[in-house]
Subunit: 557 residues, 2 copies
């Protein structure tokens, strides 16, 4: 295989996880990146703000990198961009709304002027280096989403992006099912298709269903209406605004991301806001409670987002009165149930009516991702020779594989990959035998990748039982303790409640150190430190069943 | 009101929360405690093992305390017993199985011989001091559950314990609906009823449904069967053992709590294990894979429980082969979804068939708590004059109140309480005007209540950004720095990756300290420490957007 007929597919993020999507298509000397997402850390990654893909492989192949194609504007597809662009600048290709959201991020990080941005749409046909790339439109929970088609000499590679089939979409933004059929008819060498809802049977309901239910709820509501959803779900926002208009209510916005998205989306024409329906938050009190809808952030129960502060009575402009209606036009993402529940508790205490729970029960939310029948429809349309399920944790990829087999893809032609695994093509034969550097890069404050396992392990120990610092000062040259042991604890236990304990720690420390004084053996200080750590650690564990970090500090003067 | 006609109801734990149930009935000079549960800490309570009720009020009224009545053997009703008994010994009244589980706990804490235990059953009629107490049997997800009836001079107080109405119970352990009807007919002054499932419409399905589905799944299974459920769900264990017997499989146990409960429950006659069906784990390999059922702990995705270790390939005796069936006879408790998902991922990677998800979808689990129609049935049977919804977070109590109103309880006669709130009765008039000490007592290792807010706040700071310790030694008397600043960090960032940063911290510290040297002002050392903390903190935040704990230590020699 020469460099010229080289064709490889490499996920650098997004398989065996939900988040930090990044896929590489390498064809001849051209390397194209699809998406550049971020992921939220789980609670074991103490202090980490966000996780992005490790792009060592891209940096090693910098001269081949032709650009970044972005399928849509969700955080798990664009959230890594400012951090990655700092490491490797590359031109970005995306649709108008997606670019609008990316620009806001680049601006915040001072990278807007130094990054080349190219606006495309579903009809665009571009060449990235020698590689022709085209697109098709899909439905999802944000407008302007793309599937991506790579026309390589070996055959066509299709990346679906995130999708569902919404046959009655809001704003009539149809998925281009005819173009998909044509692509499939012409032959697809490999399909990369998203797997988020591979566990869900059936067909995801249309977004329009939510609009009808929201309208009904608005009709029945008596006081103020608070309604929360993901700010990026522009079609949902449109339906909420439409329902407000039909029920003669004004709309005001609460929460920074809600204000930002409504601003960007209405400026770019994705959101139609009828004349004079939008009211500034500070002016809302000019209207009666039953004339207002407050569209809030905080659908996942974030205590500091708008709805969280409204529910706890800590919002500057809005409060809940008995009889107000609060609607969660959302489902809690697994892990967020308890935060959402806290907010519902607060709202009930203020005697609000609250519509909450899973979207499938309340009808106030539908997923943006394809369920099993839609995944099978995509596989049937594309008829791929090879199939790579992407965008999901292992069980989703596994179930997506079973769906693919059920519609006729050969089991041996399906690759469930780890991040970094390379699928190479020789002619139209695919095989998976090698991998490239990959992993999670942690962002903590301004640091990208400087927090590693040792730091995290220390944070873990500190978080569970705190720290005990033992300072002891030796006279230089002579073996004499001239100060200490001084014992300082943080996060362990109050010194005043445990004076006896600290006296004992002091005694144990001296016992170890006195060996040195007595024997005048000049063993390295590190050995004494280790002995103090062990002796004090064992003593404290026996007395308290706790294991604080023990940090002996020996000063020589 | 004299002490003699005094009647009060006080929750010390269990309202506005799920967990640490403890309710006090005080009648004349007799104080009776119902239940003594524990609660798991949420992730913000770093390092805390378990939470129990604050029993200051019981200790203040020690001479009136007649005993602890325990409704059933779940952790949220018995988990606090060993810790509370250490603070206040009192006789315990419970049914045979519940006592068996309590004894195991007391033994572990060395308290068995010093605690008075009284076995009761649903027919018992006892007097606690002057107060007659009787009971009625209920259905729940553990056998031998009680409702409690207090026959006070002012009227009858009923505490339901945890319950559902299972009209086709396993082992024919019927709830005594006739006795409940009689109690209600004779008049109930106040009802305390549990609210766990007040958010769920309908009627909770019978446990028998699960048995039928487990049997069907066993019939279809080909390889080894792993099945996991809560160990304390003895009726579920019985149905699993029965299904194994009918499908000619042996059963073995994996996990300490599974072994303990099967031992206690079969010894006491609550579990009928057919001759020779139970096989030691070490002997399981004598049987073919399709002749075995492994009954495991780990239904909530605990990585170190039996199923977690089996799934990750780290169990001493058991491993998963392709085609094995794994059944979650459980629903993930909110917050545990991600841990369960990790285990399913591992099982799919090993090519197992896995039945998982919410019990309402899989049919492999039903709740042990009454849904809305059953709560209304209990309210209808009891016809209470006053109603206190207990055992639930605020939204559950609130919805339970609405249910009570819907079946005719007067809204003004319903009390939604906080822990510590006292409902006092004067004659048959109830009012809520005062409260008693209450709260969460944290258990950390061997310490009960010694970890407070300052320690937790320190752990929080340490967990997010670590600690930076700055040690500086001054010569005594003279204003001269003779050693340092030495800078040590843990959980912040590697020193080697940030030498420049540490040099700067050193310089800033010296700058502050040199004021002292120059002015020879003997301001208190604490002021200098505070200044170092501030200057270094601001510098590090500007450079890193992180806020480690900064701990200046000044040694004088």
């Amino acid at each position: 295989m020469t460099a010229n007929d080289r064709l490889s597919i490499i996920p650098l993020g997004g398989v065996n996880e939900i988040g930090k999507n990044m896929y590489v298509i390498q064809c001849g000397d051209d390397l194209v990146v699809v998406d550049c997402g971020s992921k939220f850390p789980d609670e074991s990654l103490l202090g980490i703000d966000v996780i992005i893909p490790d792009i060592t492989y891209l940096i090693e192949n910098e001269s081949s990198v032709r650009g970044l194609v972005v399928t849509h504007g969700h955080e798990d597809h664009i959230g890594g961009i400012p951090y990655i662009i700092k490491q490797l600048n590359m031109p970005i290709y995306a649709t108008r709304l997606t670019l609008g959201l990316i620009k806001a991020k680049l601006k915040e990080h001072g990278l807007l002027s130094s990054t080349k941005l190219h606006q495309i749409d579903a009809q665009s046909e571009i060449a990235l280096g020698q590689l022709p790339v085209s697109f098709f439109s899909t439905n999802h929970s944000i407008p302007d989403c793309l599937g991506v088609v790579f026309h390589t000499p070996q055959g066509t590679i299709v990346h679906t992006g995130d999708f569902k089939f919404d046959l009655t979409p809001v704003n009539n933004q149809y998925a281009d099912i005819h173009k998909m059929a044509e692509i499939g008819k012409n032959g697809v060498l490999a399909l990369l298709s998203e797997s988020t809802n591979a566990e869900r049977p059936g067909f995801t309901p249309s977004e329009r269903l939510v609009g009808a239910n929201i309208h009904d709820a608005f009709t029945r509501a008596e006081g103020m209406i608070y309604i929360t959803t993901f700010a990026s779900n522009v079609h949902r926002l449109q339906q909420i605004i439409d329902a407000a208009a039909k029920t003669n209510r004004k709309v005001t916005l609460a929460g920074r991301s809600m204000v930002n998205v409504v601003d960007i989306a209405s400026r770019l024409g994705y959101l139609t806001v009828p004349q004079s329906i939008l009211v500034e938050a500070d002016e809302a009190n000019k209207y009666k409670r039953d004339e207002m809808v407050v569209l809030c952030t905080g659908s996942q129960g974030e205590p500091m987002a708008a709805l969280g502060r409204i529910a706890s009575g800590n919002h500057r402009q809005f409060g809940v009165s008995p009889g107000d209606t609060v609607i969660f036009a959302s489902s809690p993402i697994p892990g967020n149930e308890r935060n959402v529940a806290r907010i519902v508790d607060n709202l009930f205490e203020k005697k609000a009516r609250v519509i909450y729970g899973a979207g499938s029960n309340t009808g106030m939310h539908v997923s943006g991702h394809a369920s099993q029948e839609e995944l099978k429809l995509m596989l049937t349309l594309m008829k791929p020779q090879y199939f790579i399920p992407i965008h999901g944790e292992y069980r989703m990829l596994h179930l997506h594989q079973l769906l693919a087999e059920s519609v006729g893809v050969e089991a041996s032609n399906i690759f469930i990959l780890n991040n970094g695994d390379v699928v190479d093509f020789a002619g139209s034969e695919a095989f998976q035998e090698r991998n490239v550097p990959n992993g999670d890069t942690y962002v903590d404050g301004l640091g990208i990748g400087d927090v590693g396992n040792i730091v995290l392990r220390d944070r873990k120990v500190l978080s569970a039982d705190g720290i005990l610092i033992i300072v002891i000062t030796f006279g230089k040259g002579e073996n004499k303790i001239i100060s200490g042991p001084d014992i300082i604890s943080r996060g362990f236990v109050f010194a005043k409640e445990s004076e006896g304990l600290m006296d004992e720690v002091s005694r144990i420390t001296l016992q170890v150190m006195e060996q040195r004084l007595e024997t005048k053996l000049h063993r390295p200080w590190g050995l004494y430190k280790r002995e103090v750590k062990e002796a004090v650690g064992n003593f404290l564990y026996a007395k308290t069943k706790r294991r604080p970090m023990i940090l002996p500090i020996i000063i020589q003067v």
